[in-house]
Symmetry: C2
Subunit: 607 residues, 2 copies
Amino acid sequence: MPVYKAPLRDIRFLMNEVFDFSSHYKTLSNSDLVDADTIDMILEGAADFCENTLSPLYQSGDSEGCHWNNGDVTTPKGYKEAYDQFVQGGWQGLSYPEQYGGQGLPLSLNIIKSEMMGTANWSFTMYPGLSMGCMNTILEFGTEQQKNTYMPHLVAGTWSGTMCLTEPQCGTDLGQVKTKAEPQSNGHYKISGTKIFISAGEHDLTENIVHIVLARLPDAPKGTKGISLFIVPKFLPTEDGQIGERNAVNCGSIEHKMGIKASATAVLNFEEATGFLIGEPNKGLHAMFTFMNTARLGTAVQGVAHAELSFQGALPYARERLSMRALSGKKDPDKVADAIIHHADVRRMLLTQKAIAEGGRAMIYYTAQIADKMSDALAQGDQAKYQELDATLGFYTPILKGFLTEMGFESANQGVQVFGGHGYIKEWGMEQIVRDARIATLYEGTTGVQALDLLGRKVLIGTRGKIIATYTSEILKFCGQHARNKYLRRFVWDLTKICTQWGLLTTRIWLTARKDRDIVSSASVDYLMFSGYAMMAYFWAQQAAVASDKIEKGDGKESIDFYKAKLKVANFYFDRLLPRSQGHAEAMMNPSRGLTSLKSEHFSFDY
Amino acid sequence: MPVYKAPLRDIRFLMNEVFDFSSHYKTLSNSDLVDADTIDMILEGAADFCENTLSPLYQSGDSEGCHWNNGDVTTPKGYKEAYDQFVQGGWQGLSYPEQYGGQGLPLSLNIIKSEMMGTANWSFTMYPGLSMGCMNTILEFGTEQQKNTYMPHLVAGTWSGTMCLTEPQCGTDLGQVKTKAEPQSNGHYKISGTKIFISAGEHDLTENIVHIVLARLPDAPKGTKGISLFIVPKFLPTEDGQIGERNAVNCGSIEHKMGIKASATAVLNFEEATGFLIGEPNKGLHAMFTFMNTARLGTAVQGVAHAELSFQGALPYARERLSMRALSGKKDPDKVADAIIHHADVRRMLLTQKAIAEGGRAMIYYTAQIADKMSDALAQGDQAKYQELDATLGFYTPILKGFLTEMGFESANQGVQVFGGHGYIKEWGMEQIVRDARIATLYEGTTGVQALDLLGRKVLIGTRGKIIATYTSEILKFCGQHARNKYLRRFVWDLTKICTQWGLLTTRIWLTARKDRDIVSSASVDYLMFSGYAMMAYFWAQQAAVASDKIEKGDGKESIDFYKAKLKVANFYFDRLLPRSQGHAEAMMNPSRGLTSLKSEHFSFDY
């Protein structure tokens, strides 16, 4: 059973050596709140909480699952106590305004904390995670009164929140939302409808649950332009902001899922529940989009989390399990067989996990700095800057969400594979990671939805391909700077090639799409995966650049093996994972009619 | 929830149109037993049993699982009744000798029957499946008395069998087996030890269970050369072959697994259990190898089974679920949105499943003919011919087992992906297929073990690469024959290229391996996957050749859409799946030191 250990050395490498978070923080308006000691305290405090409180509940929470009883939901044993500790530690308010009881620290620290928590116990982490969507919505679109009523409780964590979007007939296609909002004479609304797949929709961790609900006003236009947002609390707040009357929102059942079983996924029935409009009428979907990029970044973290946890489980097993002899001769001559870590193919699996976890972490931490700047712009009321930064982040998020969750799932499966048959047995804890990881490519927009967002919206419609030109020229600049570095030569060469190819593919799709609209869909997932492999290559090259620099300068001698390992893993990534981009490149350029010309009724002649 | 429908049109296409089973059967010594009517009766009888008896138990068996109580194991509700029907139908004896009550039909019919049964309900199919290993061993290595005692019951299915190989400390590396066999004065043996992961090791379906156990005699040499085989029945047979005294083999527990939960996986404790030597002392592992290829072929079927079942689940959902509009314009203008089958990316997923299921089925059916010839040679006592055929099959089996189970798992995951978030919910039945499919790359030799068997044993050591030259020249001959067929032009061209590349890669690894032994391990899985993509391409081209021929000749006009669909799916395979071979080609040729040079202790600096 994997026992989580926070990878603080790697986290600090990224924060201090690769991305210079301390300089970055100095550029933010809340820079006075964050110093080296604070960061250390947060990293170590989070590590302690994750290792000693959350990790021990990971497997037991899966075995027990959540319990539904007549509308009430009980989380697994120990979850309530862990959540109380979370609240007492002030963890929920880390990056929320001091005005509402938070600590006002940069969002990136919250993301890093969430990565640790999510790796230790993803199901647990979903409860406070959903509150963030709710808090962001209220902070940005709520009235002063709404903010004053809900934010202090949500920031403290004593209340939690949800996002109620999906209905039985629609998830991605929110234009089909049917839930109704009837205006009342007192200015409130009666909300009626059924929402499904509501994470943290009902549970016993908090006194109150604040639902953000997508619904239609009576006169609303059809489709996506007729959706409004409502605050529908489980208990209506009293005038002094405390728990009042029970509202008519009830949990009809919780889903039986493949994984993340300790996370309650609720069916919520709104039966003329009292709701309060938040933001402008019919602009609800637009409001949702405001936080889509940061929300998707939060889900991208799941790919890193499961790659990391599965690696932490597989590594000690590979060092201990004895089987056969390495082909190049005995490595453990005194033992009955060699530890399987000495087999090249087992190393290939472990290194895949490690390359994804560390490469993905670098991608997350880099984008977390953009998220910091966005929060800052929002706090400063600088909408223009926010929009500009959001457009930048918007290029990264579908790649990170789509690519990292796909790779996280593969990495979790490699962890099972290292264990052989034992990987299939629950007690070892490896198969749970696969089951938990499987949701990540589905929710918060499937991989296909991310791919269409990337290629259709962000690359073609949004920028006519310019975003790729801009990004690859950034990479090529890096290549120019390091062209004469002997450690980096092969990275520079491979990056140069893939940047050229990335641009070429984009142009070819752009030209093809004029006549063949479907190619945007038929090429999309291959384009997303290609982009992911290319982007992660750049992030590995950046890590290699820092490591080679340290080695050359003789800095951090006590870390020399760490830096050498970084170079080796970067090489592994370029040797073994980056080549997959070529299959995607070839596949995506085939005409879409290869997919569209088979009639629906001819997909099978037997059924 | 996927409801199984036997794909009889596709099965008949392969049997009658592609591989001409009727001519093939005429070459076998038992040809008088098999005619068109018999085959039809078997196909339709198996389809009926699978659709109406096994399929309805698929999901309930997973939910309920098996129950262990003080050494006894109860299978899920309905399994005993289904098994009784299976026995009454005479299904277990289909391809076993008439002398023991079987029907003496070719093994291929048994494989095709197993494919249908396994697709409808893999867990159920494992119980009779394990008996086959046991029967084959007794038939080939047992004394007349042993055959007469066990075979009639096993062939009838009233007794079942197991293969007891794995122990807690070893699975792949059977040289580490510790179970002891102490000779007794009466010529019997006392067997003591613990075996794990014993499929069908204990259950309530049959009156008796016949274990084939790997154990060591007191004077046995160390390692693989000191392993003998023993028959250890749960109940000792009386002199007249009926159920006698209970033997000292007990089921200590059953495993809690990720999937195949209706299949009982037993821990068996042998406590001086009475055993009977079968075959020669210390030659047990050699005997096991006799049936390894056919056993692995049986597991390869699982890849096809789960791709097929997941496709059968995803297809109707994709036709019904409405979401967004196709990029090239409305396809269901009267509906609120288009069915998702109109999105090119959803088609990509469905076609991947279909291409794997049908391409894999073709690979299985072709090799099933080799298996027929092997059984025939064995029945005729022609060891030389058997060995020759086994060497031929031995090239296919690691590719089919490794590649098809990996692709079956991917296909099962695509089925979940088509469902979006609903795929993650148990009630839809799609996630179960993923969990069930996950075992297939682990047992009966992991993908890594298959890859080393292919590249190390079969290609390099066994034939110095000649087997690839032989196989690719067969493909190139096909290409020559179809070079001027307008339907096949692109297949011929792509096949020619990949054959050249396959040969080149093999030669390069062969040359590299002289100095760098580890490359055989470091390249192995990429080599296996490359081989799988190349081989499946050939099997798709063969299907396309038949389909194009029928279209040209105007044969089977009522099937014109079927043939056209075959051509489209073949094109899809070459467009979208075959290109992945290029990533594997590039990855495998990197030097092994990229994997081996990182010290075990430097895989992590945090834990």
